[in-house]
Symmetry: C2
Subunit: 149 residues, 2 copies
């Protein structure tokens, strides 16, 4: 029932990157160290880690931030994962539970703010381009009925 663990080469192929990049991300702390591995032994990954890598690459692509900024952004996600784990243990004090949740909410809000800002800027650019396109097409249409004036 436990999905076959993958090696770094497989993960790299599936994510569309290279082993070197994965090791680098691990080195700078952008990805967590591969779980419990005596140094010298091969890294083993589950689909869980593969998807994490994909998310990292996606955010890097979409937000175009430095790996350092990305790290702090993802530390939020990291924290949320921890929160989810803690919350699954039912025996957390309500007090503490509320703390964890609203902390998590703060992290999400920070990410959302960044993303919303970017999205807004982009759609503005998109609109401008669409406008320009309309103008050019209008000029072209006017050429089809030159005797109109």
């Amino acid at each position: 029932m436990t999905a076959a663990p993958m090696r770094i080469g497989d993960v790299a192929r599936l994510a569309g990157t290279t082993p070197r990049t994965i090791r680098y991300y691990e080195e700078i702390g952008l990805l967590p160290d591969a779980p419990a591995r005596p140094s010298g032994q091969h890294r083993l990954y589950s689909t869980k880690e593969l998807e994490r890598l994909r998310e990292v690459m996606r955010l890097k692509h979409l937000l175009g931030v430095s790996l350092e900024e990305l790290k702090t952004l993802l530390s939020a996600e990291e924290a949320r994962a921890t929160v989810r784990a803690r919350l699954r243990e039912e025996d957390v004090h309500p007090e503490r539970r509320r703390e964890l949740l609203s902390e998590s909410l703060g992290h999400i809000d920070r990410q959302l703010e960044l993303v919303e800002h970017r999205a807004a800027e982009l759609s503005k650019l998109q609109e401008e381009l669409t406008q320009t396109r309309r103008r050019v097409r209008k000029l072209l249409r006017e050429m089809d009925v030159p005797a109109q004036v």
Copy 2:
């Protein structure tokens, strides 16, 4: 009536960058060489060039592409500028005029495609984040009425 020409330091300040960057962009052909200047003499710019620089920086920021890719993207814009200039001369053959216009349209479409794609990806991410946010807030609200179950 001719707006006072600015020097590279002024342009840099107004655009929020440095003289070095402007020279670099000019060097790699991302910005056109400052108009008619005997080498050794100071570069002089009009607000026209300032805005061009700003647009370059904006696109770089929003699309996060390499300066090389940006150069090809802007060569389209360059071409459109040329088209506009040619079109202002009223004496272009209709045949040629149509050619120029549809060529211009093609360039715009290429840019639009890229921008639309990015915008779509971003808004998808935005929606996902919003969803997550909703879920966390729901959990928080449920804590306010614990006796509900």
